[in-house]
């Protein structure tokens, strides 16, 4: 790919996962705020959701290097 178009593409594609991560942890914080005993129950779910969303951001980063 000519020039730095892949960097621009990566930057744009990182918006989605960033919003997704914010929403996931906002939900986790709300859940723990309403019921602090639920912290250890919600924690694996929060981290699972975070990793799934972050995977998409990392696909973009890797493709920015490869192309």
């Amino acid at each position: 790919m000519k020039g730095t178009l892949n960097l621009v593409g990566y930057g744009l594609s990182a918006i989605g996962p960033a919003i997704a991560t914010g929403m996931i942890f906002a939900a986790y914080i709300s859940g723990v705020a309403r019921q602090p005993e639920a912290r250890s129950v919600l924690q694996p779910i929060a981290f699972l959701g975070f990793a799934l969303a972050e995977a998409l951001a990392l696909f973009g980063l890797v493709l920015a290097f490869v192309l």
């Binding site: 020039g3 981290f47 990793a51 990392l58 290097f65």
Partner: protein, 262 residues
């Protein structure tokens, strides 16, 4: 990215780290495959075996520190990952899940250990082989439990969905089970380790380059190094998290294959 390289190298300045930094020369001339990552994988297997053999020797009721450490790692995988997720028949899968977790964790931690400093999972083949193992295992388990006809029918035509939705749902389900799951499982681990190592390289090599510059740049270099140190801790968190996520998703896929559909 490549054009940036040529521009910066011509000016005699900083050459930013790239995917070339992940290629290592071989140690021996007649065998091109014996490189640093291969050595690190062998070392990780050696370390894991020695640690767990020593932790389980002379197992006493009141555990020593080494035994306690080994048992807590095993207990974590067995209880939180296998028993809570797979449920009834979890003991069959604990060896595989435990091996997966400890192997990925050790290889990831090599990314921040001094003198080693290379996460072997940032070479594409290692995560993908593990993802292929998981793929073969969870499909084999599903086929053996439900028979191949019913298993394929349950994937393609998910029960409890109105029939008209099958036009949209079936291609998505087939793509998910056959392509997306193994692909993203391996790619998630690889991309996290690749990106993390690259970040560390940028800050530490960049700080080193700033240190050799004029006095104004020399004063900025401590910030680059401080950021490098902070990122090392963050990398540790990401490495542990990625090992946990890989094992968790494997357990979830196995649990999905074992689940009785009503």
């Amino acid at each position: 990215m490549r054009s940036l390289h040529l521009l910066s190298a011509e000016g005699g300045g900083f050459v930013p780290p790239s995917s070339n930094d992940f290629n290592f020369p071989s140690f021996f001339h007649n065998n091109q495959y014996f490189t640093k990552p291969i050595l690190l994988v062998f070392l990780s297997v050696l370390l894991i075996s020695v640690f767990f053999i020593m932790a389980s020797r002379k197992a006493a009721i009141v555990p020593s520190k080494l035994q306690f450490a080994g048992e807590s790692i095993y207990g974590f995988v067995r209880n939180d990952l296998a028993k809570d997720i797979i449920g009834h028949e979890f003991m069959r899968f604990v060896p595989y899940l435990f091996t997966l977790f400890v192997f990925i964790l050790t290889n990831n931690i090599f990314g921040i250990v001094p003198l080693l400093q290379f996460p072997t999972m940032s070479h594409v083949s290692f995560p993908y082989v593990l993802a292929i193992f998981t793929f073969v295992i969870f499909h084999y388990i599903g086929i053996r439990k439900q028979g191949i006809g019913k298993y394929v029918k349950d994937i393609m035509f998910m029960p409890g969905v109105p029939k008209a939705a099958y036009i949209l749902l079936t291609p998505i389900e087939i793509a998910t089970y056959l392509i997306t799951r193994p692909l993203t499982l391996g790619l998630r681990l690889f991309a996290n380790m690749f990106a993390g190592h690259l970040l560390l390289l940028v800050f530490i090599l960049g700080g080193d380059h700033l240190l050799k510059g004029v006095i104004g740049l020399k004063l900025i270099s401590p910030f680059a190094f401080a950021f490098g140190i902070g990122l090392t801790f963050f990398e540790f968190l990401v490495q542990c998290l990625q090992a946990y996520i890989f094992t968790l998703l494997t357990a979830l896929y196995i649990a999905g294959a074992l689940a009785d559909e009503h």
